[in-house]
Symmetry: C2
Subunit: 205 residues, 2 copies
C-alpha cells in the first residue's frame, strides 16, 4: 500500500516497528510534506483577500508549487522504502562474494539519491515560506514559522540519511562530492528556515 | 473522523486547505508523533541484541514511554482542532457585546493549553532520544538524530501556537507566565535536540 493511502496511525506504527522501512528518510519526507502543506494553507488564506490583491498572482504561483511539493515529498516516502529494500538484501550477500562490492555500491547510490531528492524538495519548500513571510496573510503568520521549522527538520533528517549511505560507498571521491552537495544545501536552507522561524516568533513577542 | 484513522494524504490535504483546523498546532503534534515513533524504532532494534544486553531493561522502559508519547501526540492533533473551533466562533461575537471578552479569554486559554501540552510531550520525546543516543543500537543511530530534529520542529511549532493565543489574552500577567514557561522549555529542549542532532551528524563524518 502507498503511504498516501495508509492511515496516520498505521504509518506511525510501521515507523515505530522493527521493519526496515519506513525509517528516518520516510519520516523526513513526511515532515517536509507537512511543511509544504502549511505553505499551501497560508497561500489559500491569502488568495482572494483585498488586502493582498497586489501579490495575489505571486501567491497563486506559490500555492501551485507548494501543492506539487507536498505530492512529491509524500511520494518520496515510498521511493525511500523502495530503494532501501534491495540495499538491505545486498547487505546479506556473503562478504567473500566477489560481486558483492559492485552490487552494494549501486544500491547505496540508489538509496542515497532518495534523501538527496527529499533534501532538495524541502529546500524548495523553505523558499516558498521565505516568500510567504513577505506576501502571506498575517492572520496565518504562525503557520509560516511552523512550516519553516518542519522543513528544516526534513532537511536535517534527509542530510543524515544521505550520509548513512555515502559512508559505506567504495568510491570515496564520488561519495564526498554528494556529501558536500547535501551539506551545502542543508547549511544554506537550514539557516534560512531558522531565520524565517525567528522572524515569525519575534512578531508574536 | 479522528486523525489516527485519516489517510496520510487526507490529513495533508486538510492541513493545506482553507479550513480552521488542522493547522500549525496539529502539524507540530504530528511531527512530534513522528519523532516519538523513531524513538520506538530505535528501541525496537536495540532490544534483544546481545551487544546491548546490559541496557536492555532501560531501553524497554524507553520503548514504553515512546509508545505512550506517540499515542498522546497523535491525539493532540484532534485536541488542537477541538479547542480551536469554539475560539473561532468566539471571534465572530460582535466586538460591542459585553460578554465577548470573558468568552474569548476562556477559549484562548483552552486553545493555548493544547500546544502547551504538545510542547511538554515533545520535550519528553527529546529526553528519550537523549538516552537512546547513549544506549540505542548504533545500527540505527541516524534515526536518533532524525527523531531529535523532528521533536525540535514540534517544540518550535508548539511554542508559536502557544504565543498566538497568549498574545490575545486580556489577563496579561497570566499570559506572560504561560509564555515564559513555554519559552523556557523550548529553549532548554530545543538546544538539547540540536545537540543530539549534531552529535549524530558528527558520527557520520
Amino acid at each position: 500500500m502507498q503511504t498516501a493511502e495508509k492511515t496516520c496511525e498505521g504509518f506511525l506504527s510501521e515507523l515505530a516497528a522493527k521493519v526496515p522501512a519506513p525509517g528516518g528518510g520516510g519520516a523526513a519526507a513526511l515532515a517536509g510534506a507537512l511543511g509544504a502543506a502549511l505553505g499551501s494553507m497560508v497561500a489559500n488564506y491569502t488568495i482572494g483577500k483585498k488586502k493582498y490583491a497586489a501579490v495575489e498572482e505571486d501567491v497563486k504561483g506559490l500555492l501551485c508549487r507548494a501543492e506539487e511539493l507536498r505530492r512529491s515529498l509524500l511520494s518520496q516516502v515510498d521511493a525511500d522504502a523502495a530503494a532501501f529494500e534491495p540495499l538491505s538484501r545486498a547487505y546479506a550477500i556473503p562478504k567473500e562474494d566477489p560481486g558483492r562490492e559492485a552490487v552494494m555500491e549501486e544500491r547505496l547510490w540508489n538509496a542515497a539519491a532518495v534523501p538527496m531528492d527529499i533534501l532538495r524538495l524541502a529546500c524548495e519548500a523553505v523558499e516558498i515560506h521565505s516568500e510567504l513571510l513577505e506576501k502571506g496573510s498575517t492572520m496565518v503568520l504562525s503557520d509560516v514559522g511552523t512550516g519553516a521549522a518542519l522543513c528544516r527538520a526534513a532537511i536535517e533528517g534527509a542530510l543524515l540519511n544521505v550520509k548513512v549511505n555515502t559512508g559505506g560507498m567504495a568510491d570515496k571521491q564520488r561519495a564526498a562530492a554528494l556529501e558536500k552537495e547535501a551539506q551545502t544545501l542543508a547549511d544554506k536552507y537550514g539557516a534560512r528556515a531558522t531565520e524565517i522561524y525567528k522572524t515569525v516568533l519575534g512578531r508574536y513577542a
